[in-house]
């Protein structure tokens, strides 16, 4: 049965309302605090490490993001840790919260489709995360300029912006997941826990399981190189089902111009290669393109899932 009228009716109203909610919420204030701490920590670590090597390194600015010093993790590692939590915090009670406050049927009785409500909530979350990330990125860049005194070059800024986009896509995965759980579970606490459980699963257990599975399915005995290669390839394939792996590879390729491959490389393939010579931005992006589209596909699939579930859900409590 075909319905009439645009599914986008009222979308803008929902986005603005949700955005206003997010930006004025306590969650956002906590997020801002974390942003400042992260930016300070990253710059502090990087500046102490990098001062010594500034003269030799052509990509000092990018090193700001990736340099770590015990006990502090690098900026990128910190993001990988903190972004999923922030995204989950913004999304876990989107739909069930409306149910519990008994506002859902009232809002849906206004001339909008459910599409607008769900998409509006997702977009507001993405914009909020985007604003936070942009603030963070500018803070780090600015403080890096002050501390290191080296202006980033054009390609470096381009890489930085691409990196910003990919972190947003990575955050989108967790936002879409939290949104889906907020449709599935009636209790916000349950949906928050479920989303955190998925995150923990991928952050801690997935790599272990991948190793075990690869060794069991493609055993490599006695130094058979083909068996060993098959095992590595299977392991890599399984590992890339995790958004964390995709994000990590994406970041490696974008922030390290010297990286030319994200999988096993044969010695024959290196013949004639000039080692340690940097790739242009376009080539690095090409290298990480599958990872980027993989993340986007994940976001779309999760959002589509919540869309289908939400359309079928009964409005009444």
């Amino acid at each position: 049965m075909k319905r009439e009228g645009s599914p986008w009716t009222g979308l803008w109203a929902v986005v603005l309302k949700e955005l206003a909610d997010h930006l004025s919420s306590v969650r956002m204030q906590l997020l801002e605090l974390l942003i400042f701490l992260t930016a300070f920590a990253a710059t502090f670590v990087a500046s102490r490490q990098l001062r010594a090597t500034i003269a030799e390194d052509p990509y000092v600015y990018l090193k700001l993001f990736t340099t770590a010093q015990d006990p502090l993790p690098s900026f990128v590692a910190f993001l990988g840790f903190f972004l999923p939590l922030a995204a989950i915090a913004l999304g876990f009670d989107s739909v069930n919260g409306e149910h519990n406050r008994r506002t859902l049927s009232r809002v849906l009785a206004q001339p909008i489709y459910r599409d607008a409500l769900l998409l509006g909530k997702f977009l507001a979350g993405i914009v909020t995360l985007g604003i936070s990330l942009l603030a963070l990125w500018l803070l780090v860049t600015g403080m890096g300029l002050l501390v290191l005194g080296v202006a980033p070059s054009g390609p470096e800024v381009a890489r930085g912006l691409l990196f910003l986009l990919s972190t947003l896509a990575y955050a989108g995965i967790w936002l879409a997941l939290a949104l889906m759980f907020s449709v599935v579970f009636r209790q916000p606490a349950t949906s928050a826990l479920a989303a955190m459980a998925v995150w923990l699963f991928f952050a801690v257990f997935w790599d272990i399981m991948v190793q075990v599975a690869a060794q069991a399915l493609r055993p490599a005995y006695g130094g058979d190189p083909f068996a060993a290669l098959a095992q590595v390839r299977l392991g890599l394939f399984l590992s890339r089902l995790s958004p964390n792996t995709l994000f990590a590879e994406l970041v490696i390729a974008l922030l390290n111009p010297e990286v030319r491959a994200l999988g096993p490389v044969f010695i024959t393939q290196l013949e004639g290669a000039v080692l340690n010579s940097p790739l242009p931005v376009g080539q690095s992006l090409l290298l990480a393109w599958p990872q980027f589209t993989g993340l986007l596909a994940g976001v779309l699939m999760l959002f589509a899932g919540s869309y289908v579930l939400f359309q079928r859900q009964e409005v009444r409590a």
Partner: protein
């Protein structure tokens, strides 16, 4: 097309559970119709189908000529809905809550502000318009819900259990506001399980039982059909002996019972108090009391379902 709401054989099944079963209903413009019945009898499901918020399993619905499941935006633009135990965003003020609704309805800013102030005034919330909705009492929430309905300037207002949980005084005030809707030429469909409250405001009622509308009509016709008479007369006399056959023979009296010695209760299709008085006095007894009461909807409902359950 003569009704603003028309349903034909409307049914809704939730798996094996039949929530609404073959409902055929027509609401003419400007009427206040009461959808009455106990909790879980299918009232809310019916309302959700009228708004296109849930799809009928079978049957057709037309609201203002539109099919709510195909063209819900047109329907929802013209119909105001107050859900059962309505909720608002606690961290926004009453005015901000309405502003969101206005924006969802695509109202221009200046137009919206005017309508909001107007609607708040009509439900008596002007003084608390800028307080957080989280601090509102149940009664104030219901009023705010009505303000939201008014804000849309709807052709139809659908109110689900509007007076549930209100104290009697607040409920009376609320019913007055519903009457006011009718004065503004808005067709009202209201659902309730508090029959005696809505009796006063409804032009016509439909009684729901297990998903079916078992009785429908004006209050008087229902009373006639179910109780066999819409008038109940209580007679008190000093000497009841031998009076019973004389009273029973009065034209229009359908039943008679003796509550205690000297006190009879008659049910009649017409107001026959004069005839009762004449017969009591002419029999030589003293007439001590003669009162007429109209039975309430509660009684009609209870009586009808006692009959239904006996048959079952």
């Amino acid at each position: 097309m003569n009704g603003v709401i028309e349903t034909q054989d409307l049914s809704k099944h939730y798996g094996p559970v039949i929530a609404v079963d073959g409902l055929t209903l027509t609401l003419p413009k400007g009427e206040v119709f009461g959808l009455l019945g106990p909790n879980g009898s299918g009232k809310t499901t019916t309302i959700l189908m009228l708004l296109g918020l849930t799809e009928p399993t079978s049957g057709t619905v037309r609201v203002l000529g539109y099919d709510p499941s195909r063209n819900p935006l047109q329907v929802k633009r013209r119909v105001g809905y107050l859900p059962d135990s309505v909720g608002f965003y606690d961290d926004l003020t009453a005015r901000e809550n309405l502003r969101y609704t206005a924006r969802l309805n695509g109202l221009a800013r200046a137009e919206a502000e005017g309508r909001i102030t107007d609607a708040m005034g009509r439900v008596g919330l002007t003084s608390v318009a800028d307080r957080l909705a989280g601090a509102f009492s149940r009664g104030m929430r219901q009023r705010l819900g009505l303000a939201e309905v008014l804000l849309k300037r709807p052709e139809i207002a659908i109110l689900d259990e509007p007076t549930a949980g209100l104290d009697p005084e607040a409920a009376m005030e609320y019913l007055e506001m519903i009457k006011d809707l009718k004065a503004h030429d808005i067709t009202v469909l209201l659902s309730s399980h508090l029959l005696h409250q809505v009796q006063a405001v409804c032009d016509r009622v439909g009684l729901f039982h297990k998903g079916k509308m078992v009785l429908e009509g004006t209050f008087d016709t229902l009373a006639d059909r179910v109780l066999g008479g819409a008038y109940r007369i209580t007679v008190e006399t000093s000497r009841p002996d031998g009076l019973e056959p004389a009273l029973r023979a009065i034209p229009g009296v359908t039943s008679l019972s003796q509550e205690r010695p000297g006190q009879f209760q008659l049910e009649a299709q017409v107001d026959c108090r004069a005839e009762v008085a004449r017969r009591v006095v002419s029999s030589g007894a003293d007439l001590l009391g003669l009162t007429l009461e109209r039975p309430s909807l509660d009684e009609i409902y209870a009586r009808y379902f006692r009959g239904v359950d006996h048959e079952a």
